[in-house]
Amino acid sequence: MKVAVCVKQIPDPAVPGELDPSTNTLNRDDKLILDESDSFGVELALQLVEAAGGGSVTLVSMAPRSEVSGLRTALAMGADDAVLVSDDALAGTDALGTAKVLGAALGRVEPDLILAGVESSDGYTGTVPEQIAGVMGIASVTFAKKIEASDGMLSIQRQTDDGYDEVTCPMPALVSVTGGVVEPRYPSFKGIMAAKKKPVDQVGIADLGIDASAVGFAGSRQETVAVVDAEAREAGEIVIDEGEGFQRIADFLAELKVI
């Protein structure tokens, strides 16, 4: 079984982010790391290939400056190889442009199954996976919490508000994986040393047959026109408990429709 996993490499969330005031986009000049949201997809892919008794896990990523640090982490977890799309012309690409690029790269891999995160931790539009499926013309299933594959078919548990749906679909398909549904393995020492030797195929947009005018700032149909600070939080309400505090809390939560 051949599984491809879309992995985004993002600025380290532990380091405070900065916006470029001229483009209103996130500054990505520092080292990028594997988005934790995608570590679940990597883990599921490794488990699926183990369960299938063979196959491969290929990572696909689009990132600036030929960044491979995040890919190396996923390779150290056990993925077999990676395709990295990196091209100066991609600066400022919006989500649809990203999907076109990833779709073209995935087309070269020809996987049975493509996994992606439900949403990234930095951009979190949560739209790239479905757009990739659209670009590639394959089935798309969202919010997976469990995936099984057999005889060219996938059975998937889709997380819902009240529980889960059971859905099936034919392969190839794109499935977005809900964060936290599996425990991603830690890279082991041996995995880290092996990762260095695993192949990373670095391609530009010309290799994928994509025109520079279709991507980057030029090709983006969306533009961030302004960034404003979030409104300061209001002071909130202080309730002195005079024996009915529990009721006030319950009423408040009921008003929020949390209970």
Partner: protein, 396 residues
């Protein structure tokens, strides 16, 4: 095509950008161990410390899976990493707790190392793979009730009877992992000098009562070993060494891990104090704005960074096979003293909260008293270096 990374501002956590001295693999390993500790240890270790327990059955296989047990040994299921990587792992483990690092040091450097370095092929095949996987636990018995800094005064002895079997008698004291070990490497006097014995802990006559009432290294098992006519086959002796050089070479390996580990403990105390100082409000603002507090925080930062540089330098020397035992003493002595000093002063910044195990600082502070004492006290390392620079032996 690649544009260079923009120069960073100084990071409060790595002021001199010492990460630049590490390669990508070293950083990935370091970050992986750091994440393991954050995910699995930090939230629980205060309670383990309070209760005086260490869940070795869960921790050992997990740490084994990461490849950290006997990690700088080659073959037999061991990782075969550089010394630098072993050191970095120790640094992150001890930023969690000295008890966790002690377990890994004892397993890898004190129990696996002598089997690896001096053991027979059969001993290696039998013990090293399960020990590397964390499925078998080892301990190291050198210290005795009346023989600590001066191991040459040990009384535990072994005699061969006419059948060739060895009979072991004596008592060992302060033995990490003793009560939970599957195998003990026990050093004993014989007619041919000090020899090491590989003792399965279910051998009749072997017992290991746990030592209680510790107020340091509580998240670690410490035991007495009682050897009462323990009969071992001839093949239980480590064939490769017959002098104190055996146990001393093990200690040299473990001390190398400690000189990194102590930096981790010191760093954890500094970071806890820094977080606390920037969020604790008194007199209308964070206590970090007081000059007296800033002086403390800067002292911690400088001390931890110097300790880091010392460790990295000694790590590189070891990987070039150029590190002498006296240089290891330098690192063990100065980095442990640094960590104790930082821990004690950092505790003061946390005020009353600082005396509880809700925060890590007093736990590290107490743990470091053990780290100061074992693997050669600071006094002993001072004398080792004193002899190295003066040529005068102060021990006799």
């Amino acid at each position: 095509m690649a544009t260079p990374l923009r120069p960073r501002k100084e990071s409060p956590r790595d002021f001199l950008a010492t990460d630049g001295l590490l390669d990508d693999d070293e950083i990935m390993l370091r970050d992986t161990v750091r994440r393991y500790v954050a995910d699995n240890i930090l939230d629980h270790v205060g309670e383990w410390f309070d209760a005086g327990t260490f869940p070795i059955k869960e921790v050992a296989p997990a740490v084994g899976k990461l490849g950290l047990l006997g990690m700088h040994l080659e073959g037999y299921g061991c990782s075969g990493s550089s010394a630098m990587m072993y050191g970095l792992a120790c640094m992150e483990l001890e930023a969690g707790d000295s008890g966790l690092r002690s377990f890994v040091s004892v397993q890898g450097s004190l129990a696996m190392f002598p089997i690896w370095a001096y053991g027979s092929e059969e001993q290696k095949e039998e013990w090293l793979p399960p020990m590397a996987a964390g499925e078998a636990i080892g301990c190291f018995g050198l210290t005795e009730p009346d023989s600590g800094s001066d191991p040459s005064s040990m009384r535990t002895h072994a005699k061969q009877d006419p059948s060739g079997d060895w009979i072991l008698n004596g008592a060992k004291m302060w033995i990490t992992n003793g009560s939970v070990a599957d195998v003990a490497v026990v050093w004993a006097r014989t007619d041919e000098g000090v020899r090491g014995f590989v003792v399965p802990t279910d051998t009749p006559g072997f017992s290991a009562p746990e030592i209680h009432r510790k107020v340091s290294l509580r998240a670690s098992v410490t035991s007495e070993l009682i050897l009462d006519n323990v009969r071992l086959p001839e093949a239980a002796v480590l064939p490769g060494v017959a002098s104190l050089r055996g146990p001393l070479s093990c200690l040299n390996e473990a001390r190398f891990g400690i000189l990194f580990g102590a930096v981790g403990a010191g760093r954890a105390c500094y970071e806890a104090a820094l977080d606390y100082a920037t969020t604790r409000i008194q007199f209308g603002g964070p206590i970090a704005r007081f000059q007296l507090t800033q002086k403390k925080l800067v002292d911690f930062m400088v001390a931890v960074q110097k300790g880091t540089l010392t460790a990295y330098h000694l790590g590189r020397l070891k990987d070039q096979d150029m590190l002498s035992p006296a240089q290891v003493s330098f690192g063990k002595m100065t980095n442990v003293q640094m960590a104790i000093d930082v821990a004690r002063e950092a505790r003061s910044i946390l005020g009353a909260n600082g005396i509880t195990t809700e925060y890590p600082v007093i736990r590290h502070m107490n743990n470091l008293e053990s780290v100061y004492t074992y693997e050669g006290t600071n006094e002993i390392h001072t004398l080792v270096m004193g002899q190295a620079i003066t040529g005068q032996n102060a021990f006799s």
